[in-house]
């Protein structure tokens, strides 16, 4: 009996260790969350804090879901930040209060669907463009998206003449700033997007194709997958997600300008990498992406909460990213 019991514990302990070594990302996140909880005597677990974290990371989550899928197909996207910036500006320009004199289209009251539509379409077009360059132009994703990044940035400046696109209508702002009971709208949108992406990646042919292309694009081609088309599709999907991100961001800030979302690409890529999406392609899950976003979110949030000197924040953030990914990599190292 006793022996049996001990074996059971051993078994359980083994299962637990296996779970940990498989879910390093989750472990990292929980460690950081608990650490922050201890440092703030539990106040970081209270609802307002959790709510803040959710709001703060929601826009980035959309970008991360997009680039996460791209990385699964073994691509990369550096254009995110400026595409989101352009999208936010386009959306904002159609959502300005018509009596605001500095509006881009003064005196015109556009219907509420127009800014959303325009924003998402803009994002989609940039995604499509990236996809075509990479799939049919055979450009390396890094350099193709570096080019589009420059184009998106130029387009934003030309469109807005470098001005702030502000004074958005309340009816537009409430899309991002509203709540359903205690739950912020933004968190709900992210949840919906997560469900979609989860289904896409886990339960559709297209999702499987993404993994296959990232895992071995030559084999994918032989297996009858239209690698070019699927590549265009993944970048377009990502572009649409950036489009949503941009629309929501404009609503959240009540404005957009040339500095909006700058550098978001690196945050998003760092987040999904911390979440276990491998840059060698073919690996990664929706939940990993979100855990990655939350992990970086909690680092930022925690340092803000604790009032870490902003110069040291950069240092600390750099180290934590490195340690988190290193910890995650051990998983693969052990296998080899």
């Amino acid at each position: 009996m006793a022996a049996n019991n001990a074996a059971g514990t051993l078994e359980a302990r083994k299962g637990f260790r296996a779970f940990i070594s498989k879910n390093t990302n989750l472990v990292t996140f929980i460690t950081l969350a608990v650490g922050l909880g201890l440092l703030t005597s539990g106040r970081s677990f209270e609802w307002p804090s959790v709510r803040n974290l959710m709001i703060a990371e929601s826009v980035r989550a959309f970008a991360a879901l997009g680039v996460g899928m791209i990385i699964i197909t073994r691509g990369i996207d550096l254009s995110i930040g400026y595409v989101v910036c352009l999208v936010a500006s386009v959306a904002a320009s159609f959502a300005q209060t018509p009596d605001y004199t500095a509006a881009l289209y003064p005196g015109i009251d556009f219907p509420l669907w127009l800014p959303l539509m325009a924003g998402v379409v803009t994002g989609g077009i940039f995604g499509l463009f990236n996809g075509v360059l990479i799939a049919y132009g055979k450009l390396p994703a890094f350099i193709a998206t570096l080019g589009t990044m420059s184009i998106a940035r130029g387009a934003q400046l030309i469109y807005t003449r470098a001005a702030v696109v502000g004074s958005l209508k309340d009816s537009y702002k409430v899309i991002s700033q509203g709540s359903l009971g205690p739950i912020p709208n933004l968190a709900i949108y992210v949840a919906i997007a997560c469900v979609f992406i989860w289904i896409l990646l886990r339960h559709t042919k297209r999702g499987t194709n993404f993994y296959a292309i990232g895992g071995n694009s030559m084999a994918a081609r032989v297996s009858g997958i239209n690698v070019e088309r699927e590549t265009v599709v993944v970048y377009t999907y990502a572009g649409l997600l950036y489009g949503i991100a941009g629309c929501l961001l404009a609503g959240r800030l009540g404005l957009a300008n040339a500095l909006t979302a700058n550098g978001m690409e690196l945050d998003a890529i760092a987040a999904v990498t911390v979440g276990g999406i491998s840059q060698t392609g073919g690996v990664g899950t929706m939940s990993g992406m979100i855990i990655g976003v939350l992990t970086l979110g909690i680092i930022n949030y925690g340092m803000t909460y604790l009032g870490v000197d902003s110069y040291y924040q950069l240092l600390v953030k750099g180290f934590i990213i490195i340690v988190a990914v290193w910890f995650d990599m051990k998983k693969y190292a052990r296998r080899a």
Binding site: R43, E46, P48, S49, N52, I55, A56, V59, L157, T160, A162, A163, V164, G166, S167, L249, R252, L253, G254, L255, N257, A258, L259, T260, A261, N262, G263, N300, Y301, T304, Y305, G307, S310, Y311, Q313
Partner: protein
């Protein structure tokens, strides 16, 4: 112990860094718990930081916002917890000040820096009319900050408008961004000297860093003259904004012509004293902060142009920094 939150736009910028440094000194002196956060030019981050501090129970703020248009939303969030804030550097909108009587302007708008540059240029050409091109024409090269940055936009617009208002014909020979960076400014200037040699009579920049880059380029290209009778050994005057110590040093060597001091000490002290007065319950209308009284008559520029909020506007003067007075700004 009173708690004050400081939401700072971007500590990479000289002015903002100086502003923050002075806040820390003031807080230490006054025994205030100062929670200072840097948003790295990202308004979304600044909103997140505001939310975080509000959940921590902070009510009173000193804010260097990213955009005028974002101030109303921040003011509303602070008003919701019964707090108050003083905005510096980037002016708050009228609507933001109208959110409640506890919201203040403690600054001069960025555009004033541009207007002062226009005054300095006016003075220079009055003293050296021979430097003007025919028809009272100014042939200017403009080095701009990061496009879309509020300081870039307002400073540039104001200096241009100021010169035209003073009756000059402004001819922009070339205008380009150098993203606040000295190295980019130097490269642009190198190309311009090759392209427009002799065709320009002034170089106007949005900050000292780029001004110094331009100066370095002009020096390397030997775009100099033997005397400094007009205040610079360069063939054309170069103007900056910020009055950094390096810039003052360059002025002392007759290289940089002039700069504009955006008074970081004045602005931070005013804003800090307002926030502290609110936090300790000492604030009442007409309060004197850093020796300044609020405005009484509406001026020409928002938000100090609205009678309803005029009592919430503390205008901290900018200062022209020229040959005459630069020594008084150098640290001893």
């Amino acid at each position: 112990k009173p708690v004050i939150g400081a939401l700072i736009r971007n500590l990479d910028e000289q002015f903002v860094a100086d502003y923050a440094a002075n806040l820390k000194v003031l807080a230490a002196k006054a025994g205030v718990d100062l929670k200072l956060l840097d948003s790295r030019s990202d308004q979304a981050t600044q909103l997140d930081q505001l939310n975080t501090l509000i959940t921590q129970g902070v009510k009173f703020f000193v804010i260097v916002p990213n955009q005028t248009e974002a101030t109303e939303q921040m003011a509303k969030a602070i008003q919701a917890v019964g707090g108050g804030a003083a905005f510096s550097n980037i002016q708050p909108s009228v609507a933001a000040l109208k959110v409640g009587p506890n919201f203040f302007l403690a600054s001069s708008p960025e555009s004033v820096a541009g207007s002062i540059q226009a005054d300095i240029i006016d003075n220079y050409f009055k003293k050296n009319p021979g430097k003007l091109a025919a028809g009272k024409t100014i042939n200017a090269l403009f080095l701009l900050g990061q496009l879309g940055h509020p300081a870039q936009k307002y400073r540039t617009e104001a200096v241009k408008a100021g010169l035209v208002a003073k009756g000059y014909k402004l001819n922009v020979i070339a205008e380009d961004t150098a993203n606040w960076k000295p190295d980019e400014a130097q490269q642009k200037m190198d190309a311009w000297i090759a392209a427009y040699n002799g065709k320009f009579n002034i170089v106007i920049t949005n900050n000292d860093g780029m001004a110094l880059g331009a100066v370095e380029s002009l020096l390397t290209a030997k775009y100099t003259k033997s005397d400094a009778a007009d205040g610079t050994i360069l063939k054309v005057p170069v103007l900056g904004v910020d009055a950094t110590q390096v810039a003052l040093k360059s002025m002392s060597e007759d290289k940089l012509y002039a700069t504009v001091l955006q008074d970081s000490v004045g602005q931070s002290s005013t804003a800090f004293e307002l926030a502290l007065a609110m936090a300790t319950g000492k604030y009442k209308p007409g309060f004197k902060a850093w020796g300044l009284s609020p405005e009484t008559k509406p001026g020409s520029e928002a938000p100090a142009n609205d009678a309803a909020v005029i009592g919430q506007c503390y205008l901290v003067p900018f200062k022209a920094v020229t040959k005459d007075n630069y020594k008084s700004f150098m640290t001893k």
